[in-house]
């Protein structure tokens, strides 16, 4: 594809997204809550789309397509299992996070944990774990943009140009008006992701097969192996387990449970996200099957989607490119904003409790700049280890699951149990990932979650729970009744 087209697409896209970010600042109030979580005033559609755009990164149209290309329908099972458990967790924990945010004015998920466990170090440790695990994940988004841009232009636009354009857009979007600009651009980007990928999928159906029906018949006839579920159980569970808990353990998504303005918006957020995820997952999987049928034998499965792009007409190729770029950019912006808020609220605010609200915002913006610089540096280095570090992100954050679940459902859960389980579990999981040691063939998250759960229960039972833990849980249950969350067909 001509470099000029790629460059033009990037410039136009960046200008539109930048303009949306600028508009989002109008009507923005003052204070940390206003900046970091949009003043808890987001409507259902924007909440749902920012949740979707944050969750679904470039992994979907590059990684998941490649995974389907290489190993068939198991990839759909992996991603659908993630979605099933995310919906389930949102139904249970969505209202609880939202109500706790309203009642205690929490801005970050670690802050909620620090309050429930009555121990600031729980919040600090949860924030530090998030930095360690999410910085490599954010860097991968930048690397994805760089590789996509340089690949599409056949090297005429450099890798670092793609990296810097995406860093500029995501950084601007996060720092200009915080959650307001990120969520508005996310909503725009989410719709772009969905519309462009759907248009491209149908183009491929008609261009290469004649009709969608003919595509399904062709795949069944020519690639029957891809429709068999051939994944080893240890592989399927090892890959799926961390993602099943993603909604709880990843602060960039759980923080979004604080943003809806009222119950109906929270409900719409869950339903819109669910519908988006369902459609986008099927689209990505079908792209993988198309690529496997049309271009078998690619050495690197992650090249399947870029290869598909080169076969499309230039305009369509550019449209898909913009969709992938949007997916990576929205995920990066959200992570940067969340990590900035964690640094400001859960680290600096603890060390300097008299920090003003304006000071919190400035510290958060400064942290975002530094984090972005670190991510650019990581992307520039392009270390081979980044893939391991990136996959470690979801597995490493999984060690927070018992602490988060226990906070809402087990009044005996203590700060010592939370600290011990997250610290030891985190080190053990990271150690297994870095050494690539999979005891008995099971993946690090399986061992990490097992160890973490044991430590959490064991240490909690041996130590004193926080004084107001039972009250925290009963207050939230009372709020759930008052707000009508239990007035549903299944309760």
């Amino acid at each position: 594809m001509k470099p000029l087209y790629v460059m033009l697409a990037m410039v136009v896209w960046t200008a539109i997204a930048g303009a949306i970010a600028i508009m989002a600042r109008r009507g923005m109030g003052k204070g940390a809550a206003e900046f970091f979580i949009g003043g808890r005033r987001l409507k259902g559609f924007v909440s749902g789309m920012t949740y979707a755009a944050t969750t679904y990164s470039a992994f979907m149209l590059v990684g998941l397509v490649g995974l389907t290309y290489k190993s068939g329908i198991g990839a759909l099972g992996f991603e659908m299992t993630y979605l099933i458990f995310t919906v389930l967790f949102l139904l249970v924990f969505g209202p609880r996070f939202w109500l706790a945010g309203q009642r205690f004015q929490h801005i970050t998920p670690p802050e909620l944990l620090g309050n429930r466990y009555e121990n600031r170090w729980v919040a600090v440790l949860a924030a530090v774990l998030s930095f360690v695990m999410l910085i490599p994940y954010a860097s991968v988004q930048l690397m994805g943009a760089g590789l996509l841009v340089s690949g599409l232009s056949r090297g005429e636009i450099s890798f670092m140009t793609g990296v810097l354009v995406m860093a500029g857009l995501s950084g601007f979007s996060a720092m200009w008006a915080g959650m307001r600009s990120v969520s508005w651009t996310d909503a725009f980007q989410a719709m772009t992701m969905l519309v462009t990928s759907l248009a491209a999928l149908f183009y491929m159906f008609y261009a290469f097969y004649g009709s969608p029906g003919a595509f399904f018949v062709t795949i069944q006839a020519e690639n029957p192996d891809l429709l068999r579920f051939t994944w080893e159980p240890a592989y399927f569970i090892g890959l799926t387990l961390p993602w099943a808990f993603f909604a709880l353990t990843n602060p960039q998504v759980s923080q979004r449970l604080f943003v809806p303005d009222r119950v109906i918006s929270l409900k719409r957020m869950i339903l819109y996200f669910s519908a988006f995820g369902f459609i986008y997952t099927i689209i990505s999987t079908l792209f993988g099957l198309q690529a496997a049928n049309l271009f078998p034998g690619l050495e690197n499965p992650d090249r399947a989607m870029p290869h598909l792009l080169t076969q499309a007409p230039p305009l369509l190729g550019l449209i898909i490119f913009v969709g992938i770029f949007a997916a990576a950019s929205s995920t990066l912006g959200s992570i940067i904003l969340t990590l900035g808020s964690l640094f400001s609220r859960d680290v600096v605010k603890h060390l300097k409790p008299d920090l003003s609200e304006q000071g919190e915002t400035w510290v958060g913006q400064g942290a975002m700049l530094i984090l972005l610089a670190i991510c650019i540096y990581f992307a520039w280095l392009r270390p081979g280890m980044i893939a391991v570090l990136s996959s470690m992100a979801s597995g490493g954050l999984l060690v927070m699951a018992p602490t988060i679940i226990g906070a809402f459902f087990w009044h005996r859960a203590s700060a010592a149990g939370a600290l011990c389980s997250m610290l030891v579990g985190g080190i053990a999981t990271a150690g297994l990932y870095l050494t690539q040691y999979y005891p008995l063939g099971w993946w690090p998250p399986v061992w990490g979650l097992g160890l973490t759960t044991l430590l959490f229960f064991g240490v909690s039972l041996m130590t004193q729970p926080p004084q107001k833990a039972a009250q925290f849980i009963s207050d939230l249950e009372e709020d759930l009744r008052k707000e009508g969350f239990f007035f549903s067909t299944s309760d």
Partner: protein, 60 residues
């Protein structure tokens, strides 16, 4: 959703999600096997979510 209902539902869903494809569908090379199963299971959960949240926000 109450905590107890959630834990029971999560265990049942995890078992169905993993066991059905492995035990009955793994060797079938058709869209009407694992592909359709996971699509229907996810759709069922989303429809269930819609039903569950229908009355959210209405005073009990």
């Amino acid at each position: 959703m109450k905590g107890s209902s959630f834990f029971v539902l999560a265990v049942i869903l995890a078992a169905v999600d993993i066991l059905v494809p492995y035990l009955w569908l793994a060797d079938r090379s058709s869209f009407a096997a694992s592909f359709l199963f996971w699509c229907f299971l996810t759709l069922a959960v989303i429809v269930g979510a819609w039903i569950h949240t229908r009355n959210w926000g209405k005073n009990p």
